[in-house]
């Protein structure tokens, strides 16, 4: 579920960064109000525990595939929502930096998708309500499965929304939802059973651990109201940023930049010929940079008229783009190589 930088736009990534930064600051503030020095090393080692546990793969019965723990709900049950959110966020930062698991711009999205829904939605509103503070095995099992499944469903749906809003992937919304939600329902149920197993194991082996955790996880201030406020802030910020970009630059950033720099752009296709290709023409409007050849390959007539309407310069532009790109890349590599040589010589 880790999103990568290659698939998101700066607007979506930036908006989610802002939301996540707010959540981190809020959680940090909440922890400060409730000082418990013992919690700091506990958060650190539990983060490392999650890391290690995620690397142990187990076989999923009757499927032949294997899975691993996510661990968010275990953290929330042991640490409470704020500390768990910060711990999960720190795990995601380290994963992004050291394991190329999720991008830097996508970090805000990833922390939100995996941390927010687990710690501030599924934990207080589902897990806590069903499991309570008692030791009823069935309640813990039901709470774990339902909350894990809900957290993963919300997270997966959020991934879909962010990806579609970014517009880099061509996956249509419906297809993407149909791909993501069922898979994550299965993952969520497995995660729930494993989470319940681990919590029950601890409960059996050392019940006092969870009692101590119960003190720590007393809910202060996480109510439906704050959760809804957080979600609303995310929605408003994302929507606001997106619509601002959309209205300021109707055809993408490219367009406005071309206008301001006055750089050579392709002439827009002639109107008459394209009347039958209205759908494709819409596309040409958002592709100002390339020699766009509208018309499908099997449509001979359209091809022929295309040739007439589209004289050679277009081809020149596209070829120059490709060749120039290759030249630039080679140049960049050469400069890097030269810097390496000179850095080596200086040593």
């Amino acid at each position: 579920m880790h999103m990568a930088d290659a698939l998101i736009s700066p607007e979506v990534g930036g908006a989610m960064w802002a939301v996540t930064a707010g959540l981190v600051a809020w959680s940090a503030k909440k922890l400060k109000e409730d000082p418990d020095e013992g919690r700091i090393p506990l958060m650190g080692v539990l983060g490392a525990f999650i890391f290690a546990a995620q690397m142990i793969n187990f076989s999923i019965p009757a499927t032949g595939s294997s899975g691993h723990l996510g661990g968010g709900m275990i953290l929330a049950a042991l640490l409470g929502p704020y500390a768990a959110f910060l711990t999960l966020a720190s795990v995601l930062v380290v994963q992004a930096l050291f394991f190329a698991d999720g991008g830097l711009l996508a970090l805000g999205c990833n922390i939100f998708n995996m941390g927010f829904f687990t710690c501030f939605v599924a934990y207080p509103l589902i897990y806590r309500l069903i499991a309570g503070t008692g030791r009823n095995r069935n309640r813990i099992l039901a709470a774990s499965v339902l909350s894990s499944a809900a957290a993963l469903q919300l997270g997966a749906f959020s991934v879909v929304l962010q990806t579609v809003a970014s517009g880099i992937s061509a996956l249509p919304f419906g297809t993407f939802v149909l791909l993501m939600q069922p898979i994550h329902l299965a993952i969520g149920i497995v995660e729930g059973f494993v989470t319940a197993g681990v919590i029950l194991f601890v409960l059996k082996a050392r019940p006092e651990v969870l009692e101590a955790a119960g003190d720590r996880t007393r809910l202060r201030g996480v109510s439906l109201r704050t959760v809804l406020a957080g979600l609303a802030a995310a929605a408003v910020l994302t929507g606001g940023v997106l619509s601002w970009f959309a209205s300021a630059y109707p055809d993408g950033l490219e367009w406005s930049i071309a206008k301001t720099t006055g750089s050579e752009e392709l002439a827009s296709p002639g109107e008459g010929i394209h009347s039958t290709l209205a759908g494709l023409q819409e596309k040409t409007a958002i592709l100002p940079d390339y020699g766009f050849r509208a018309g499908s390959g099997d449509d001979g007539a359209a091809e022929a008229s295309e040739e007439a309407a589209w004289p050679n310069p277009d081809m020149g532009t596209t070829v120059s783009g490709l060749a120039g790109g290759a030249m630039t890349l080679a140049l960049a590599g050469l400069i890097g190589f030269a810097l390496r040589r000179s850095a080596g010589a200086r040593k």
Partner: protein, 270 residues
């Protein structure tokens, strides 16, 4: 299986060596963090069909690798880790976006393929910039930089703690998996969910015990909830400011001017 633990451990060991040397390593972490973020934002801000104009951005990772002496092979290896996921999602583009976009002789490229190549280029650039940031910066100075840039103290302390214990716990997990493998019959014995639960539960109990010991040890040494760091950061305008300005300016130029086109025109002559 345990292979992934081994791989991750070696990846961590490789990174924490922070082999980058000289000028790049001595730069203020704040400058490097900001330049990396500007780079990622600039790269991702192009339209979905853009490929050639992303190429000038390769100068940054190339120059950073060149200056710091980090081998390009290692950077490349890291960027490949992210590749399977990117390929999986990216390959839907040629499937869904079939409008022809570009023709070179008999070869017709659809919009889907162009955006697919664009995704690959973005992924490569963004990941290599992040990898070079951690290859050329010690984790504690990275955290110090994050704190000075406004990250809440609790979060920075959490990152430092996490960092200290990751290797320890990964080794613990590796020992458990290895012990399980040795006790099991057959090749590559799989861990059943039941075994996994008790394994993870045990690891968790050990974790909690360790947290208690760590806490008492830290209290004994005067810990009051904060990690104090002795090495102050100094942002030198002539070194870090220049670094920030030069790269920021270069990214801006790459974003606004079509450099590859310019280069091609210049090379092709009038």
């Amino acid at each position: 299986m345990s292979g992934s633990i081994e791989r991750n451990l070696s990846a961590l060991a490789e990174t924490s060596d922070a082999p980058g040397s000289g000028m790049v390593k001595s730069l203020d972490p704040r400058a490097k963090i900001l330049v990396t973020l500007m780079f990622v934002v600039a790269v991702t801000s192009f339209g979905k069909y853009e490929v050639s104009r992303l190429m000038p951005f390769a100068l940054y990772p190339a120059a950073m690798a060149g200056l710091s002496g980090v081998s390009p092979g290692r950077v490349l290896k890291r960027t490949l880790i992210a590749a399977p996921f990117i390929l999986l999602v990216g390959l839907f583009n040629p499937l869904f976006d079939r409008a022809p976009l570009l023709r070179i002789g008999p070869l017709v490229l659809t919009g889907g393929w162009m955006s697919f190549f664009s995704i690959i280029a973005r992924s490569f650039l963004a990941v290599s910039a992040a990898v070079l940031l951690v290859f050329t910066t010690r984790f504690d100075s990275l955290c110090l930089g994050l704190e000075r840039l406004g990250t809440p103290r609790v979060f920075v302390v959490q990152l430092l703690f996490l960092w200290r214990y990751i290797v320890l716990f990964m080794e613990e997990a590796r020992r458990m998996v290895r012990a399980h493998t040795l006790r099991s019959w057959g090749n590559r014995p799989k861990i059943s969910p039941k075994v996994f639960v008790s394994m993870t539960g045990t690891l968790l109990l050990r974790t909690l015990d360790r947290a208690g010991r760590v806490y008492r040890a830290m209290r004994a040494r005067g810990f009051e909830g904060e990690i104090r760091m002795l090495r102050p950061l100094s942002f030198s305008p002539s070194r870090d400011g220049l670094f920030l300005l030069v790269w920021g300016g270069y990214f801006l130029v790459c974003r606004l001017v079509n450099l590859p086109e310019f280069l091609f025109r210049a090379a092709a002559g009038p």
